[in-house]
């Protein structure tokens, strides 16, 4: 069988629509977001939160976001 690097347990990361990158800000601080494509997260340094991008859909809810360390 041919080799494959895809792990069936890990769904492929669907990238964020570039149109959204231009307009999204942190819902709490209205500050800028950094897009971590590999982790599938939008990071708000000011709020200390990482908002998940699931299946290409950004989930801009504080109660769904991961708290950043430090």
């Amino acid at each position: 069988m041919s080799e494959t690097t895809a792990d069936p347990a890990v769904p492929p990361i669907v990238p964020l629509d570039p149109r959204l990158l231009e307009i999204l800000v942190c819902p709490l601080t209205k500050g800028p977001l950094e897009y971590d494509r590999a982790a599938g997260e939008l990071i708000s340094r000011k709020a200390g939160l990482a908002y998940p991008v699931r299946d290409g859909i950004p989930i801009m809810l504080a109660d769904e976001a991961r708290k950043l360390e430090e």
């Binding site: 959204l20 800000v25 819902p27 699931r54 299946d55 859909i57 801009m60």
Partner: protein, 266 residues
């Protein structure tokens, strides 16, 4: 985000419930897509009153119905909803967001369309201000929401029936703003040329439980914070609907559709 929103502890709506209701409704909303589409079309008809052309719209809570109608008018849009399953019904790009904490940079859009999606928000003035910031100067807010009088006869009939059945009554129909509140809200939120007018839409049901099913399919289940979480008293809806029925046995209900327009100052 629930309970501790800007609405404070006395916030009338349970936002976690609103989200749950929309999550569940995502699988059923097709049942009412025609109706929602018709109501959205009525709202979008207002775009014909202006010569302005729009290219970048925000569809707030359009339930998969508004975005295609905007596309048919050649207007590109981003759809946004509190519920991930509900927003996934729209063509991309889509965003899950809380209408009380919007994640859009200033000047992101030239049009905001909110078709029957603002009435479960605790801090409506706050949302309207955030939407104004998300609009470019000269951008248009176009919104519809149920106004006072919506389901009014049913509200009274259910209250009378519940008092008769259980000696008390819980709120089963949400409070709706009156038209002058709507216009004042737009003005206070800083919109230019704020206008609120009303269109009456009547519905008639042979079996009023169809109405309950349709409201559920649209994600419109009661999300009042003070709602009675117990199973309704036996026979309540039957008694209430019997009270509300006309001589022909049908129940007529009214949707008073408030249509709000306001412009972001240039």
């Amino acid at each position: 985000m629930t309970g501790a929103g800007p609405g404070g502890p006395a916030a009338p709506f349970d936002r976690a419930a609103v989200r749950r209701h929309r999550d569940r409704a995502a699988a059923r909303v097709d049942q009412v897509a025609d109706l929602l589409g018709e109501l959205a079309e009525r709202l979008l008809d207002r775009l014909d009153d202006t010569t302005q052309r729009f290219t970048a719209a925000l569809d707030l809570g359009g339930r998969g119905v508004v975005a295609p109608l905007l596309a048919a008018r050649g207007i590109g849009c981003v759809s946004c909803d509190l519920s991930a399953p509900m927003v996934a019904r729209n063509p991309r790009p889509v965003v899950v967001a809380d209408e009380e904490f919007l994640p859009f940079a200033p000047g992101s859009f030239d049009l905001v369309v909110a078709s029957l999606s603002l009435h479960w928000i605790n801090d409506l003035p706050g949302t309207l201000i955030q939407l104004r910031h998300a609009l470019r100067p000269g951008g248009l807010l176009l919104a519809s929401l149920p106004a006072l009088g919506t389901l009014g006869g049913l509200r009274m009939a259910l209250t009378r029936a519940e008092v008769a059945v259980s000696g008390g009554a819980a709120p089963r129909v949400a409070p709706f703003p009156d038209l002058s509140d709507c216009a004042a809200l737009l003005q206070r939120a800083g919109y230019a040329l704020p206008v609120a007018d009303v269109e009456d839409v009547g519905f008639s049901y042979a079996n009023p439980m169809t109405l309950v099913a349709e409201l559920r399919a649209a994600g419109e289940t009661n999300a009042l914070a003070e709602r009675d979480r117990r199973i309704p008293p036996r026979g309540l809806f039957a008694a209430g609907f019997a009270d509300a029925a006309g001589a022909d046995g049908r129940v007529s209900v009214r949707l008073r559709l408030a249509v709000l327009t306001g412009w972001a100052p240039g």
